[in-house]
Subunit: 447 residues, 2 copies
């Protein structure tokens, strides 16, 4: 936990060549802690740090590091040592790492690895990244239903190394079809001579290789599972997705929604450099810039109205702003709702109708407030123009914020690409058209 | 999984009084499935459905339902039956339920419950809701380090009922201080005669009762734990937080961030009625409405400038919009970053400096583009005014989006209350001041 203290100690041990004391310290640490320590350590100490760690510990460290640091470790270790580490790493983490390196390096590493590990990881790498196949591990322990609990525990013991993050044992039939599941708790509670068949749970929920990772996460979240089995089209067990991977999926998907809703581009965190961050944000901004210029064109076409009633300009930023705000609110409700709801025609109709009513209520309240302000400042008719425009634009804003993401979802696009800034910019255009349209048609009352 | 089919079957069994067939069907379902079934069933069947379920199944159902439906079930069951259900429910879920009902009802239920359960849940209800104490369960199994594995398994078997969602056994000393942890896996791998002392892991990470739930979630996420123990100020074990609760925390916190970033108010989902949704969204909108009117006042004060160069108006929506967009982008990066980063002076300085550079780069690119457009349309000097204004407003927008949430965080407020709409509305004001300020000072070049 106290990385600073650990770092100082580690540097001391490395300098004093106190390998034994160092090893005792490392034994008490969690993999996340070695990774923090590795990050905190000045680069000149990295190589010696790695030589002091056992192969097992380096594998645990690798699984916690980000891709850039993983590559640094591989480079420092060389191909031969690296391939030994890769043999021990969890297959799902290894597949992620290998998908980051160049084609030639990949071949060298795969050739140096144990054949079965190398084949298993190549199989995993062939699945789409954001699916059950892409996030599952192919390391699991299977049982047959005629085993006794004693057989199961024996098998479990002999595969102890790969059961670290696995919480259920899966039961398959002669065709490798998944037929049941047994938890560690079930094994502990049962007598040694009971048959697996009698203690297993039959109605196993599973996902297929191409199930979207968000759906896998939803299943685990709903049922409070620790893992979910992944089967192929013949219902043969191919791997498992564990709860720790699902937590990362939930975290990342929420992060992605926020990035898209704010049009901030992919993967910008506190460590991203300014030029990369600017490069990732610019495409959306340039698009929004040109859409924003359309607003200017609209104003230009109403120049006549503007010349006659200059006061109209003063309410323009507020009207455009409010349309954007109400649109952003609806958008956020729709985008998050799509994550947790099953969508059918009935749900959509109900939602659109609800937001319509929300738009009316909000429009009436805000319209009335602004009518009073505008009337006090100019005239009754001016108040009417501003108030009615605000009601209309808020309603349009709410509807745009609701319907645009629903249409995107319907045509198979991610609804979150209809970002707050995009909805706001589009709503600017709608609001100017309505505001100056109403003002122009009522012009003879205003002057 | 197929709720529609299940619903039809259930109605049939209820109408035919086929209690036994109904029971067989329910045995194969997960708690989440009964809850879906209960929601899908027309209300007139609810009472009979409940009478057909065992006490254990009703308790499981209750833990999946939302507060309104839980209250409906309690009402249908009556105090006596309800208190029996409450005795079986997990303490953390029960504490959440009881905090939703009225003072008098609460006393009635607590009086009807078993004394030890009632005391345990009252203790839980006394902790703050969004802390480790508020989300933990006080049902866990403890061991002493001199137990053998056989003793531990025996104790585990005798507490089988409460170990459903528990994945580790905690080892305490004579003062109830937490001294170690043993997983089910450790027990399965060990020999029956080994001492717990020899197989337990000593360096147990724990949280205290008042640790924020987000920090608990972060700990579990970092270390891939299935549960984390909660201790009081004397390091005595008081409860545990399990990974399924943490998944809900991560999900809810992301949801809250999105709600706040879009100023859409708390807790609006697809089921919320229009009037409630409008009521929750209006406070922010009315605030934004009045801030938006300030923009009008600014325009009013530049009336002279506007009269002389009407073309300035046409770029106004774009400039205001771009300032809002860049501000929203920075805001999202900062708000999400604050969730996952440990914040110190160095990190903040680095971040502000990074965003400053991002603002400069984005400002230069967008400023140049708009300079070309404005020059082509009006004049070189006009292009300079619009371009320079855009650079300055984008820089201000980026800085406002970065610094405002950081200040809120520093003074202990939630940075996400600086919503996208708020930043956008404030940035409208800044952008108008800068744009017309620059235009006014360069007026003699423009006319």
């Amino acid at each position: 936990m106290e990385t600073d203290k650990l770092t100082v100690l580690t540097i001391k041990y490395l300098k004093d060549n106190s390998k034994e004391t160092f090893k005792e310290m490392v034994e008490e640490l969690h993999p996340y802690d070695f990774a923090e320590l590795y990050r905190a350590l000045p680069e000149k100490h990295h190589f010696k740090f790695l030589t002091y760690l056992s192969t097992k510990h380096i594998a645990a460290l690798m699984m916690e590091l980000e891709p850039d640091m993983q590559k640094e470790v591989l480079l420092k270790l060389g191909i031969e040592k690296s391939s030994k580490i890769m043999d021990i790493m969890d297959n799902d983490d290894l597949a992620d790492l290998l998908s980051e390196i160049s084609e030639e390096e990949l071949e060298e590493y795969l050739a140096a690895m144990q054949q079965d590990e190398s084949q298993a990881v190549q199989q995993l790498m062939s699945y789409e990244p954001e699916t059950a196949g892409g996030i599952m591990t192919s390391e699991f322990v299977w049982l047959r239903d005629y085993y006794t609990v004693r057989d199961a525990v024996e098998k479990f013991k002999s595969f102890a190394e790969i059961t670290r993050n696995i919480y259920y044992l899966y039961v398959i039939d002669e065709e490798k079809k998944l037929v049941g599941v047994v938890s560690y708790r079930d094994l502990l509670l049962a007598d040694m001579d009971e048959k697996i068949h009698d203690i297993m749970f039959n109605r196993v929920l599973s996902v297929s290789l191409d199930t979207d990772q968000e759906d896998v996460a939803q299943l685990i979240q709903r049922y409070d599972f620790l893992a979910v089995p992944v089967v192929d089209e013949k219902e043969a067990l191919k791997g498992i997705v564990t709860v720790d991977d699902v937590i990362d999926v939930i975290h990342d998907e929420a992060q992605e929604d926020i990035e898209k809703l704010s049009a901030s581009g992919k993967d910008i965190d506190f460590q991203t450099t300014a030029s990369v961050a600017a490069y990732r944000r610019l495409p959306w901004l340039i698009l929004l810039l040109f859409i924003g210029l359309v607003s200017g064109g609209i104003l230009d076409s109403f120049e006549n109205t503007l010349d006659q009633v200059v006061a109209l300009i003063f309410f323009m930023p507020m009207i455009a702003g409010m349309t954007g705000n109400t649109g952003t609110q609806s958008l956020a409700v729709v985008v998050r709702g799509l994550v947790t709801n099953d969508i059918d025609r009935k749900t959509v109709t109900k939602l659109v109708w609800r937001e319509f009513k929300v738009g009316i209520i909000i429009g009436l309240v805000c319209g009335l407030l602004v009518f009073l302000v505008a009337m006090a400042w100019q005239s009754f008719m001016f108040g009417i123009v501003v108030g009615v425009s605000l009601i209309a634009t808020i309603l349009i804003g709410t509807m745009a914020g609701t319907i645009i993401p629903l249409i995107l979802y319907r045509v198979g696009l991610d609804p979150a690409v209809a970002s707050g800034p995009l909805i706001t910019t589009l709503n600017d255009i709608f609001s100017l058209l309505i505001y100056f349209g109403i003002a122009t048609s009522l012009m003879h009352f205003l002057i």
